[in-house]
Amino acid sequence: MLYINCPHCGMRSQNEFSYGGDASVKRPEINKEVSDQEWDNFVYNRKSLRGKHLELWQHISGCRQWIKVERDTATHEIFRTFKADEEVA
């Protein structure tokens, strides 16, 4: 069982959350010419590496906010959590 520290609600079990994938993916800017490659990278292509991974989770059975979680994909250790609009240094 993972325990995720929701920045809004505190430490909760994994059962309250649903997963939203890689949080480092950025949508191409609106009102700008976007190449096929940029769309590809946004929609399909993922690094998905072993080790530290910044990802989105939604606290679906809690405050329903989207949050960012920094987790190790091999050990499942969770290092830090952030609000969705927080910049990750």
Binding site: Q14, S18, D22, R46, K47, S48, T73, T75, H76
Partner: protein, 418 residues
């Protein structure tokens, strides 16, 4: 190579089976090969075998970080089927079914292929309609499919829950009678033994740490046991695909996720089919030892852990008990996990890459084991001829940018949803 036969079995019994040849050698890597296959799993071993058998290319090495057959070919639930709706998947898998039927003879190794049939249960009228459509598509591609009504399903699997007040009543199901199971380890070992006998070097405990690429052309690989020159390199590493892709500065439409499976204690024969629950994601069959072999959803977040988490297992087994209540009486014997190369449309990639002489075989999602022979056969063709075969033409790497997705399940890019 010593042939496995009743005659040799009897002969070796006189020496207490102490004098059998080793099934494969443990060579040190040579300086150069015509083809290097990275990954000594089912697909890599099959690729090497078909390179030697079909294309007469025997200066081949298989480079394996751990031991052969220690990854997903040793961790799956052994199901073999070709019950796909889309042409690309159906024709590819049905070609594989033919190879499965001949495999034990072909490899001189008993892979215990058991075409016992698979039933996908339906729990609503809409699902029955969808299965009728899928069954018709299968039959148009020459794949056997039978639509069963509730009574017919009840006759075959009376132990399923047919009571009236269940949340997901069984309306019927779609059966592929020729689907089944096989002994997974034997598949890896059979391919390894034959490939070795034809001159392929199986190099274990050898990790790939980098690639030598010059002017857009592959020159060789760097490994923990030294540099190896190669004219062609095939990558066949399932859940570790992204790790190697990063060394090549490639970003792929693949995410690595964890899938669990489990077996119960062995019980007397009760289930002679593979059965899947249609209102969720759960499948079960009974092994020759009597264990109920079960699996279902991904753990649901990127993972390289090769071991699972309990919430998903609990969720999957809840579905199992809803489908077959007697499962709740069984004790769990083992659970384990493997890491899946989940592609963004649920279908695999067997293709050339932008680097000349570098080939990619990945994106098998949940369905890698059954594809072992067809994947090896088509990947060997793609490497040997430097062009894709018509069977894997649809499994291209650029289909994501051209929009020719093969989205069998209609899930889109959220691979962790099931």
């Amino acid at each position: 190579m010593q042939k496995y036969s009743i005659f040799n079995l009897v002969k070796n019994a006189f020496s207490n089976h102490q004098n059998w040849d080793l099934a494969w050698k443990d060579p040190t890597p040579k300086e150069e090969y015509d083809v290097v296959i990275i990954g000594g799993g089912g697909h890599g071993l099959a690729t090497a075998y078909y390179l030697a058998k079909e294309h007469n290319i025997t200066k081949v090495a298989i480079i394996e970080k751990g031991w052969i057959g220690g990854g997903n070919v040793g961790r799956n639930t052994t199901i073999i089927r070709s019950n796909y709706m889309h042409d690309e998947n159906g024709l590819f898998s049905e070609f594989g079914m033919d190879l499965w039927r001949k495999m034990s003879q072909d490899l001189n190794y008993n892979v215990m292929f058991s075409p016992r049939g698979i039933i996908n249960l339906a729990h609503s009228d809409a699902q029955m309609n969808a299965y009728a459509r899928r069954g018709n598509s299968m039959r148009l591609n020459g794949i056997d499919a039978v639509l069963l009504n509730r009574e017919q399903v009840k006759e075959i699997i009376p132990m399923a829950d047919f009571s009236d007040n269940v949340r997901f009543p069984i309306f019927g199901g779609l059966m592929q009678p020729s689907a089944g199971t096989a002994r997974h380890d034997a598949v890896a070992w059979g391919y390894a033994r034959q490939a070795d006998s034809m001159g392929v070097d199986i190099i274990q405990n050898c990790e790939v740490i980098g690639f030598d690429v010059n002017a857009g052309k592959i020159k060789g690989i760097r490994t923990s046991r030294g540099n190896i020159k190669a004219k062609k390199v095939g990558i066949c590493v399932a859940g570790s695909t992204n790790i190697l892709a990063e060394k090549l500065n490639m970003t792929l439409p693949i995410e690595t996720h964890l899938l669990q499976a489990c077996v119960s204690e062995p019980v007397k024969p009760v289930l002679d089919k593979v059965v899947t629950f249609g209102a969720g994601h759960f499948y079960v069959s009974q092994s020759d030892k009597g264990e109920m072999v079960m699996g279902g959803d991904l753990d649901g977040y990127n993972s390289y852990a090769q071991r699972g988490n309990l919430p998903t297992l609990q969720h999957v087994l809840t579905e199992g008990i809803a489908m077959m209540p007697f499962l709740s009486k069984l004790k769990m014997l083992r659970t384990w996990g493997g890491i899946m190369d989940m592609s963004m449309d649920g279908s695999p990639i067997i293709d050339k890459t932008h680097i000349e002489g570098l080939y990619l075989n990945c994106g098998w999602c949940y369905g890698g084991f059954k594809a072992t022979p067809a994947s090896g056969w088509t990947f060997a063709h793609t490497i040997a001829q430097d062009r894709v075969h018509e069977l894997n033409a649809g499994y291209s790497l650029n289909r994501f940018s051209t929009g020719h997705l093969i989205d069998e399940k209609g899930l889109g890019t959220k691979t962790w949803i099931s």
